[in-house]
């Protein structure tokens, strides 16, 4: 395994390694494998070198650049970077350079991190394989005939391939956790509101949450602490400082109560592969061996999560993506009048999956259908929250697979959106509830490809979630 972010930061802060050298090493790895993996929409080599030099200068001047000093971070290309193209892997934004930085970008910089590039994603984060990118798919570094998962596939692949020790993605229905699982890295979806969404190009506002990718739980925790905490520019941001998740990583699970969600582990939803189920059982046993009480438990309404999600997320997306109309920024395809220009721009600018979801969402919000679709989906959401609340009366955390299968072949599910959507069945309930969840790489499946185990925690339970994830990580050989 490559050096961890914590090791890099510690060496840079101590003046033992230069940030510039760290950047060069990672740029060299990118040079070797990026053509094959295609993790990035843009490698920011010049900016990264400049930034690394500034970090080195700070160290030389005796000041501390921060907990991520000199650590290269790959940024999902749906977070605003001032003056640097931010595309959402969409033709409609191919030329757009934001005039401002996302809060997460500001906080990365404040922590001493070096943004090394903007990573590929399914267009507007809509997808589970990164094949919906207008700029071509990203490949899984473990097997380049396979997908890296999605939508943050570029960020997951960047960490897995050693292009950067850390990456940020966004998770609306599993878009951090599922690619983390498929690429064999740690992926976190914090409590909704823990990390500011200011500067994140919205897919589904009530579900979107930015989260870290890393090789280790401790690295992910450090990145989490750097980006989390109240941001007055996001009204849904929790008015609290970042939870001190790193402090508890070594405290173990002795005496904790762990529930394995039966509906997601072979006892409800079909399609959870047996090798994946087997790894979840191994993980459960490991936690039991570490002193936790582990039981199977039912969270009945999670089986409706997928359906509710595919109404709520497209509904919000249909509104969030309305602004890409050719009037102010991004692509414009001219037409004889404003409406024709809007239509021509959006027809040319959006890919099929984005169009499909805009249409689904527009329909779900339409007069006469709102109650039956959007309204009902919101009631399901409440039901899921209630079921989770009942489960968390008995358990500190819940356990499930992250993804139903290991990484699948490129192209295998492109033709059938429904098969693709099922990839998110285990991850979606946490988004609907606003709860935190983490995917920890936990061995491999029958095909030798990584399997992720998901630890779910209640609202604001990020500390406990990290603590259990760290224990799982320690239980690996």
């Amino acid at each position: 395994m490559a050096t961890t972010a914590l090791e890099v930061a510690s060496a840079v802060r101590a003046g033992e390694r230069s940030a510039r050298a760290v950047v060069e090493e990672h740029l060299a790895v990118i040079g070797e494998r990026e053509a094959e993996v295609h993790a990035f929409n843009l490698v920011m080599a010049d900016e990264a070198r400049e930034r690394a030099d500034a970090v080195d200068a700070a160290v030389a001047a005796g000041s501390d650049p921060g907990p991520l000093a000199g650590v290269p971070v790959a940024l999902k290309d749906n977070m605003c970077t001032r003056g640097v193209p931010t595309t959402c892997s969409s033709r409609i934004l191919a030329q757009w350079r934001p005039p401002y930085d996302a809060t997460t970008v500001e906080r990365l910089t404040a922590a001493g991190a070096v943004i090394i590039g903007k990573t590929n994603l399914d267009e507007f984060a809509m997808g589970s394989s990164t094949e919906n990118s207008a700029f071509g798919p990203t490949k899984n570094p473990h097997d380049t005939s396979r997908v890296p998962g999605g939508s943050s596939g570029g960020s997951a692949a960047a960490v897995a391939a050693g292009f950067a020790p850390l990456a940020l993605g966004s998770d609306t229905g599993g878009s951090v956790r599922q690619p983390a699982a498929l690429c064999g890295v740690v992926g976190v979806k914090p409590t909704y509101g823990a990390v500011s969404r200011y500067g994140l190009l919205a897919f589904a506002s009530s579900l979107d949450q930015i989260g870290p990718f890393a090789h280790t739980v401790a690295d992910a925790a450090t990145l989490y602490e750097a980006i989390a905490g109240h941001d007055p520019r996001d009204s849904t941001s929790i008015p609290e400082p970042a939870a001190p998740v790193s402090s508890w990583l070594d405290d173990g699970v002795d005496g904790m109560r762990v529930g394995v969600i039966s509906e997601l582990s072979g006892g409800g939803i079909e399609g959870i592969a047996s090798d994946v189920q087997a790894r979840v059982r191994v993980a459960a046993d490991a936690l039991a061996a570490a002193g936790a009480t582990v039981e199977e438990t039912s969270v009945p309404s999670v089986i409706y999560g997928l359906t509710a999600y595919y109404l709520i997320a497209p509904a919000e997306a249909s509104s969030n993506l309305a602004r890409y109309d050719g009037v102010r920024y991004g692509l414009r395809v001219d037409g004889p009048n404003t409406e024709a220009m809007n239509v021509a721009t959006r027809t040319a600018g959006f890919g099929d999956e984005v169009k499909r979801r805009i249409m689904l969402g527009t329909y779900a919000l339409s007069a006469g259908y709102y109650d039956a679709y959007y309204g009902k989906a919101q009631r399901v959401r409440t039901l899921i929250i209630d079921d989770f609340a009942a489960a968390y009366e008995k358990y500190d955390v819940l356990l499930s697979p992250t993804s139903p299968t290991t990484a699948f072949e490129l192209g295998a599910k492109v033709a059938d959106p429904m098969t693709m959507y099922v990839n998110d069945v285990c991850t979606i309930p946490s988004n609907l509830a606003g709860h935190p969840a983490i995917s920890v790489p936990y061995g491999v499946g029958d095909d030798g490809l990584p399997v992720g185990v998901q630890v779910l925690a209640p609202l604001m339970g990020d500390v406990t979630m990290f603590r259990v994830a760290a224990a799982l990580e320690r239980s690996l050989p």
Partner: protein
């Protein structure tokens, strides 16, 4: 002489009644916009008060301006509304001057509901709701008629985008054109007196749309209405409603029914033209705005706003009317001009209410300058007991406004003293002798010639005569 000629009420053809509800958008005069820190100011260079949030740039998020909410609650309370927990919603439609292609507004859970507004004549108009929303940018369509459909291109100024608005929706309680105008005036008076909006129709900080329908008198049905937009003054409001009502009546008379639609008032040509039809109108796909949290003001917050509320125009009218011994409607102008405090003080210093109101309405439109309640009361007393004629009083008043002082010495300095009636009798004798035909008509009850005699006497006395005394003398002669 008063010039309160009765307003001629434009009448509908016999048997028809007007049914009007008004939707008024007013821009709140907060320092900054509704969801960002950009300056809220009219008249700045285009696109200078903008930022990622009010331009709706990808990734930007709204943060609610607490002052705007306070202003909106103050307005709700001033309109006798219930102030409720509220939820913002997105109203989705495409328009180039709307940066996000949705408008953040309140839909099923607005801040204020179920209020009413009392017009100066005592008519009460129900308020259905008053909700907070963001303004759009301002489009200027270049080429063609100046409207979007045949323009060659459009210019958009986003300075206005995101300015806080409250939309006040009345119930369809308005029955006359005059009431519609009075409603708009009264609302403007409330907005300015509670200091939440400039309420300038000419600058667009108050915009009035009229929902107009008609029905046979005696019916309580609500017939198809049309929403008339682009009304730029209170005068236009009256014209637009009258035009629209008559258009509906003409349609019914010829066996047709109006189509429910939005219509565009064309002030220059005095008519409305068809806009988009409500039948094929867009479905706005409202849903709760996920980027904002619900508004849940505490009882203490609402109470604090209610306690800090300045006296409202209707209460001020009633207070002044009671003190002056007049109808509330007849002191409306004085209250609207904010001169009620002076009037009340003068009356409590002993002035005759009628004289005080008369001078404020007719002679003090440009302000009261150095005039104090005491000197105003002293002047009114001189006028009331005949020491000064109305014309002389006006002259003294002008001096009091300009430089203050004592009305008795100002009157003396002008050489004003009321003429004795003997002198007036002599002038009147001469006039009657010189104009026997006119006098005969006056005696026969033709009041139109009264003005002729009064005018001649004023001319002969260089305005020193008291009109009231002259009238009295003429009545006595005619009766005797």
């Amino acid at each position: 002489m008063t010039d309160t000629a009765p307003v001629v009420e434009p009448t509908l053809p016999d048997g028809w009644e007007l049914v009007v509800g008004l939707e008024v958008h007013c821009e709140l005069s907060t320092a900054t916009k509704l969801f960002c820190g950009c300056r809220n100011r009219f008249g700045d260079d285009p696109n200078t008060n903008v930022c990622p949030v009010c331009l709706g740039l990808p990734g930007s998020l709204p943060v609610l301006n607490g002052s705007a909410v306070d202003y909106a609650m103050r307005l709700g309370l001033a309109l006798n509304c219930t102030v409720n927990p509220a939820v913002f919603a997105r109203k989705n439609y495409f328009y180039p001057d709307m940066p996000k292609d949705y408008q953040v507004t309140q839909y099923d859970l607005p801040t204020s509901t179920d209020g009413h507004l009392e017009l100066p004549d005592g008519t009460v108009v129900g308020i259905e709701r008053a909700h907070i929303e963001e303004d759009t940018g301002k489009s200027t369509h270049v080429g063609g008629s100046g409207r979007i459909h045949d323009a060659t291109h459009s210019l958009v100024d986003y300075n206005r985008a995101g300015i806080p608005l409250v939309e006040i929706v009345s119930r369809p309680d308005i029955r006359t054109v005059e009431s519609a105008r009075a409603y708009a005036s009264e609302l403007r008076a409330i907005l300015t007196s509670i200091d939440v909006s400039d309420a300038k129709m000419e600058e667009g900080s108050m915009r009035v749309d009229a929902n107009v329908s008609v029905r046979p008198i005696g019916s309580d049905e609500l017939r198809t209405r049309c929403e008339v937009k682009n009304i730029n003054s209170i005068r236009s409001l009256g014209r637009a409603i009258e035009y629209e009502a008559n258009r509906h009546i003409d349609l019914y008379d010829s066996g047709q029914t109006p189509r429910q639609e939005t219509r565009h008032w064309d002030e220059a040509n005095g008519r409305s033209t068809s806009g988009r039809s409500k039948e094929d109108s867009e479905d706005y796909r409202y849903f709760p705005e996920p980027d904002l949290v619900p508004l849940d003001p505490t009882g203490a917050q609402v109470d604090a706003i209610a306690e800090a509320m300045p006296p409202l125009p209707s209460a001020r009218r009633h207070a002044l009317a009671d003190a002056a011994g007049l109808e509330a409607g007849s002191v409306a102008l004085v209250v609207e001009r904010g001169q009620d405090e002076l009037a009340l003080a003068a009356i409590s210093a002993g002035a005759d209410g009628g004289i005080v109101i008369k001078h404020l309405e007719n002679n003090l439109a440009d302000g009261t300058g150095e005039l104090t309640a005491e000197s105003f009361a002293a002047l009114a007393a001189m006028e009331a007991d005949g020491r000064l004629s109305a014309t002389q009083a006006k002259t003294v008043l002008t001096d009091l406004v300009a430089s203050g002082g004592d009305p008795t010495s100002i009157a003396a300095a002008h050489g004003f003293e009321a003429m004795d009636t003997g002198e007036l009798d002599a002038i009147l004798d001469r006039l009657i002798a010189d104009n026997p035909d006119e006098w005969g008509r006056f005696v026969d009850g033709d009041r139109k010639v009264q003005g002729f005699f009064v005018g001649q006497i004023m001319k002969a006395t260089k305005g020193q005569a008291d009109g009231k005394v002259v009238n009295m003398l003429m009545q006595q002669r005619a009766a005797g």
